[in-house]
Symmetry: C2
Amino acid sequence: MSPRMGLDLQKIVQTSIEIADEDGVHAVTMANLAKRLNIRSPSLYNHIEGLPALRNELALHGLRQLYSAMETNLSQSSLQNPVIALGKAYIRFARLHPGLYEATLHASDNQLPEIQKAGNKIIEITLKVLESYHLDKDTALHTVRGLRSILHGFVSLEQNNGFGITLDLDDSLDYILITFLKGIQ
Amino acid sequence: MSPRMGLDLQKIVQTSIEIADEDGVHAVTMANLAKRLNIRSPSLYNHIEGLPALRNELALHGLRQLYSAMETNLSQSSLQNPVIALGKAYIRFARLHPGLYEATLHASDNQLPEIQKAGNKIIEITLKVLESYHLDKDTALHTVRGLRSILHGFVSLEQNNGFGITLDLDDSLDYILITFLKGIQ
DNA sequence: TTGCAAAACTAATGCCATTAGTTATAATAA
DNA sequence: TTATTATAACTAATGGCATTAGTTTTGCAA
């Protein structure tokens, strides 16, 4: 490797995502990152301000990719109930990118405008999908919170082996989403 | 302080819980623990095998106290729907002991028999509370997963400021639980 | 070709968990 | 009462981590 790598923030974030998805968010350290990039860890500071800043980047990228996954699925959704489709896209993303998904909630400062904005887009697309239910404004927001709780809780428990092995996980997810939607009306 | 403190595992776990609830699970370190107990960190190893073992202890105590909070509330529940009562007890515990609750899912080895058993008791009490709905076995288990997803997701998002400030959180919780229960039948 | 800014580097600090080996003490046995 | 012993504290040391300061290298631009 040459003493001058083509290193930039993109490459750093991308490598961090690889580490997170393969070994978990806790494995995203300056030391591990430097190892993968074949540089010494202090060199990273030429490109990013430190670990907290990196965590913010990771959260931001995670939220954006999650939104993108939801949106893509939505436009392609076939006959299915669009809320179910959205929920399944959420879960699919979390399973495909367990570390990046986890990072989504582990920003060092989740009040950052960019992170807030990325989160709001997810809320908005969920609201949009709920339009067909003709809920009043507050009820729609409560419902979004409910869906997010269900989806995040499900993912979080699944990733922590919080569920036993007796029942199929996708069956549970279908049932839970359908049951919740049945309750709206 | 005397060179011989009345230190034991109970005191260590109790102090760890204090740290977790005040400053977060991430602040539960051997160093911080030793500081609070006015000893040097290597002395802790006379009582506990290390940080991973401490995390397991914390998870175990968290699960047991969570179960206890649910059970107590259940026996005292008045007119309310018992499932709602159980859910509210869950949330109340998580709010009262944010760090300990968080630790619940952060065991170093959540396959330990004791931890499994503590988790199973929570599932069982939830199943019991669902009996009045006369669900078949599988449906009951799916429902338990749904309730856990809702409750854990809600707590997790609440603790991460994942919800905006527009709506009252307790209103959301009520609505979500009621909506889900309406869907069962 | 030379000069400069950027990006790598080494060295050093301070924090952490953990291990090894030592000392002090409280309880127990003589 | 005194001697013994197990235990629980200690100090010292190692290795890993993030981070800062200061230095060298390098590729591009004048």
